[in-house]
């Protein structure tokens, strides 16, 4: 094996080396050194990831200004995707915490769920008369959320949100007890609204306005979770 081939394999390998490359590294001192360096860098990266270290936000700001000044990026209008990113991550440039991956996933589910609600109604496309398969079949699950009241889905989302909120709030340091209290008080308000809306929904299952209020309350709960995650990232550096 040539050194160039070895380097190519090394770039793509994310684990033990193939036998042929392993043989080369044993006989070539130059490639042996490269391999050792790379192993050390990977180990250091793993440690850093475990500590969840992220660069200060001012680094992102400086980078952004530099890239803007060089014309490599430019300010764009915030579309729904950027807004979703803001909802999920909070401050632009903030790095999501790996420990809250489940909570981020909940937010994405809620966002996707609410996005589905905002899709223009295509009543004809989602009737039971449609043939199975094809594009329509693929989009049907999301659209069904609009046309049918997804009690089970919403209940599951609520349970997931509750678990995520509990976990995120528990991660707040002691000094933030007043912040935690404030978030919990507002969580109580939102939960109360959800309960009232759900009661009305049971009484008037066909009322789209009640449904909109219920979904709006869930959206508020997702905002609360996003805020809690965002604040939990304010750590000692």
């Amino acid at each position: 094996m040539q050194c160039a081939q070895f380097e190519q394999i090394l770039e793509q390998a994310d684990g033990p080396l193939p036998a042929e490359a392993d043989g080369h590294v044993q006989t070539c001192p130059t490639c042996g050194l490269i391999y050792e360096d790379l192993a050390a860098i990977r180990a250091a990266c793993r440690e850093l990831s475990a500590e969840e270290v992220s660069p200060p936000s001012r680094v992102w700001t400086s980078l952004r200004v530099q890239l803007e000044s060089e014309g490599l990026i430019h300010e764009v209008n915030r579309g729904w995707l950027s807004q979703l990113q803001l909802l999920v991550v909070g401050t632009p440039g903030a790095v999501p915490r790996i420990g809250f991956a489940g909570a981020y996933l909940s937010l994405l589910l809620i966002a996707a769920f609410l996005l589905g609600l905002r899709m223009p109604p295509q009543v004809g496309a989602f009737t039971g008369d449609q043939p199975a398969g094809g594009v329509l079949a693929q989009v049907r699950p999301a659209a069904s959320l609009v046309s049918e009241f997804p009690v089970a889905v919403v209940a599951n989302l609520n349970q997931t949100l509750n678990g995520d909120l509990e976990r995120v709030l528990a991660s707040f340091p002691e000094r933030d007890s007043s912040l935690t209290t404030s978030l919990q008080q507002n969580l109580g308000i939102v939960d109360n609204l959800i309960a009232v809306c759900e009661k009305s929904m049971r009484e008037q299952p066909d009322n789209p306005v009640v449904r909109q209020y219920l979904y709006g309350a869930y959206q508020q709960k997702a905002v609360l979770l996003a805020t809690a995650i965002d604040r939990s990232t304010l750590e000692v550096r």
């Binding site: 200060p56 936000s57 001012r58 700001t61 400086s62 200004v65 530099q66 000044s69 909070g90 401050t91 340091p173 000094r175 933030d176 007890s177 007043s178 912040l179 404030s182 978030l183 008080q185 507002n186 308000i189 939102v190 609204l193 009232v196 809306c197 009305s200 008037q204 066909d206 009322n207 789209p208 306005v209 009640v210 209020y213 709006g216 309350a217 508020q220 905002v223 609360l224 805020t227 604040r231 304010l234 000692v236 550096r237």
Partner: protein, 293 residues
């Protein structure tokens, strides 16, 4: 002077001395930061302060001045300038720092045309006479804006907003915060709070859109006889109180229907020529459309 009086005086003097020592100790820990940044054009100022008061005022210098007063040690004020972008961050340097120690009050002077991005969770935020887009993100901090102009975005969990003589456009969202718009000059207002109250006391501009929504609490708008707007107000399980002389079907629009909602109260119609569009909606709160005194 008897023994009892002497004893009482000694206790008082001791307590006063202890209080003085505590105050001196606290004063010694107070840390002051002053920074000046020369800027050109429209600067962008970002402030992240978990706890403390933030006062932003416009002045006529091409400079941003930051005065910070931190309550104790274990907290750092980081500032950074990159071109016209200035970032101010309060952060704990010690994991044992208390909420009180983390408190930092800011007085920030900026050129009139400045874009602001503020994140503050506790403590009031006041902005006076700044013209530029602004965004505020808070948990419990109240926001007071006066004589500002621009695209204003407010996101709070429990904090309230008082906006006096604000111009431009407003998007505000809260869970339990109240919103008060006094003498606004805005043509696009979208405000939502779950359990808070909303007050809009100002003119509805021609072609303006005003969407005010809550779940509970009161939504109150005040109008004058010259105002011209289409109004669509509905409270699903609450009340609508109206003093506006609206007439139906000015623009031949269809009234919204609320199926199976015998309890819903709604009002739909036009006042004068209906130049603005006003949408008021509540789940079980009270909507008041009142004539201004």
């Amino acid at each position: 002077m008897n023994a009892r009086t002497i004893s009482a005086n000694s206790v008082f003097a001791g307590a006063a001395m202890a209080a003085l020592m505590l105050a001196t100790s606290a004063g010694a820990q107070t840390r002051r930061t002053e920074k000046h940044f020369a800027v050109e054009g429209k600067p962008v100022v970002t402030v992240q302060n978990p706890n403390g008061r933030i006062q932003v005022k416009a002045w006529d210098k091409h400079e941003v001045m930051v005065l910070g007063q931190s309550a104790g040690a274990g907290v750092a004020v980081d500032t950074e300038q990159a071109g016209n972008r200035i970032e101010i961050v309060t952060r704990p340097t010690d994991s044992n720092v208390t909420t009180g120690d983390l408190r930092t009050d800011y007085e920030i002077s900026v050129p009139t045309e400045t874009e602001l991005q503020v994140r503050s969770d506790r403590g009031n935020v006041t902005v006076d006479s700044v013209h530029g887009d602004m965004s505020f993100d808070s948990v419990a901090a109240d926001v007071a804006l006066q004589d500002v102009e621009g695209y204003l975005v407010i996101k709070t969990i429990g904090g309230s907003l008082v906006c006096t003589r604000c111009a431009g456009r407003l998007d505000a969202n809260s869970i339990s915060g109240n919103f008060q718009l006094v003498q606004p000059v805005m043509d696009n207002v979208r405000v939502q709070t779950s359990s808070g109250n909303i007050l809009f006391d100002g003119s509805f501009l021609s072609r303006g859109i005003y969407v005010l929504k809550n779940y509970s609490g009161t939504i109150e708008v005040r109008f004058s006889s010259n105002d011209s707007f289409d109004v669509n107000a509905s409270s699903l399980f609450g009340n609508v109180i109206n003093q506006a002389p609206v007439v139906p079907d000015r623009h031949k629009m269809r009234a919204p229907k609320y199926p199976n909602s015998a309890m819903a109260q709604s009002l739909f119609g036009s006042m004068n020529e209906g130049h603005a569009k006003v949408e008021l909606s509540s789940f079980n709160g009270t909507i008041k459309i009142l004539k201004r005194d």
